[in-house]
Amino acid sequence: MALIEINNVKKRYTSGDDVVDALRGVDITIEAGEFITIMGQSGSGKSTLLSVLGGMNHPTTGEVEMAGVKLYKLPGEKLADFRAQNLGFVFQSFHLISYLTAIENVMLPLAIVKMSTSAKKTAARRALERVGLGTKLDRLPNQLSGGEQERVAIARAIVNNPHILLADEPTGNLDSETSKEVMALFRELNDAGQTVVMVTHNPEYGAYSDRTINLKDGKVVGAQA
């Protein structure tokens, strides 16, 4: 059974008289351990698809099933709990909390988990070591370079050992050299068994993934393995 099944997902945004169909019936299946790149131009619906996949954006119609759980059928705050336990997010602008140190930022997803502080610190330190930042635990985000901030964001996304790592344009704010390092890091994580779904508009980075899904005008228009 596939880890993720997206069945006929449609998403319509309405603002006054304006109606935008961001997703027009998307069907995707993702297996555990896969590294998927979702590619497409601006406005193709790739970020909307990622937010639907991340349990943050209710589709207008269709279903998203992850590890056997129908995400949008979960009651109340169970969807938030599902995100906390099963998903890791890497955002385009890193979105680190400026008043927290690197290790505190990484511990953020654990703030709502019942664990001892020392266990949380150990987990966060280990995650930072995995991304090569074991020596910069107590730096604030403004004391880190763009690439280092991205690594902290990745460490934050993997600290709770999620089923799926979702990344939205993770290299969008990085120079090409740093971008390659970050992509290599994603590849490394995937090689270690982490399922990764990444949105990018740069075809060059598709090479790091197992499969690329192309979106155009809210529809899947092709896929390359």
């Binding site: 943050m56 995100r83 890791g88 955002f91 385009q92 505190e104 953020l108 709502i112």
Partner: protein, 386 residues
Amino acid sequence: MKLHTISINNLKRRKAKMAFLTIGLMVGIATIVTLVTLTDSMSSDIERKMDEFGANILITPQSNGLSMNYGGISLGGVTFDQREILEEDLAQIKTIKNSKNISAIAPKVLGGIKVGSHDVLLVGVNFESELKMKQWWQIFGDAPKGDNEVLLGSDASKVLNAGPGDSIEIKEESFKVAGVLDQTGSQDDALVFASLPKAQKLLGKEGKITLAEVAALCSGCPIGDMVTQIAEKIPDAKVSAIQQVVEGRLKALDQIKRFSYAMSGVVVFIGSLIVFVTMMGSVNERTTEIGVFRAIGFRKSHIMRIILLEAALVSLLAGFMGYAVGMGGAKLALPFMAESENAHLIWDSSVAFGSIGLALTLGLLASLYPALHASKMDPTEALRAL
């Protein structure tokens, strides 16, 4: 890393904003503390002054009498079975339950007497307690010091043609006029005041008194209860409260308190607005941050806890500081407001706990909507990046 780590670190980072919020709330709390403390202290001072300024309980002989006066015109009265109060009975007043509230007892003996060719009303008083009770008396000359000295009311002085230092003769005994009262506009103007023992002797009423005025300090003591307690101790006397004085006193205090509460209400409202606007601004500024929290799985209740904990910490600090600054303000303002050196600042623990509790309640209530607003933010909208 716990939720409170986020709140505390955020407060540390936004020092300027949080200082503004703390100061805004602190000024509100300090104003209320100052107003309440000043009102309490001034009320206590006014109470003390008013108590010193006049009697509020009157003790007269028990009689089955019908007064016959209307609109200030007296046609005499029918009095029968009149009993007299013995001077020694007054000592019983000091044994009542609320005796600590008695400020002064002023016994008096009254009687008509001839001075030269004039009929005058002689009043025997204990000058020490009388002068304590009637602090509005202005005396030209001196207060009588011995049994052979008298004090004249202003009209009596004119009629008897005697001033300070002169002598008058009563029952073939010579008395020195020690002083003359300035016009009071009351019955005192027509009276001749002598010491109680001398007046009793002159009137042939040794050991007896006609009436006694009692000034009670009424902070926390119901006059009605004291009247009952005195009446039980002196069953032959009629004890009555001078309601007008009591009610006037209560009304004055009530007006001050109402003004203070109205001002506090306005300050509470302004304080709430400051907290609301600042917290709302803070939440809006942190849209992305809240979006990240929601995206990584924080529940709505977690977001609310973060925001409300920040509000609670700031409010507690503002409460403590507000109480300290408010009491300092009250201490500085009291001498000017009370116009009295004897006014004392009242340190009330309920004001301390109340101000901190009020700050906390105010901070939390005013932050409730911003916290709810934050918790309801759609993570996708909040992040915008997705």
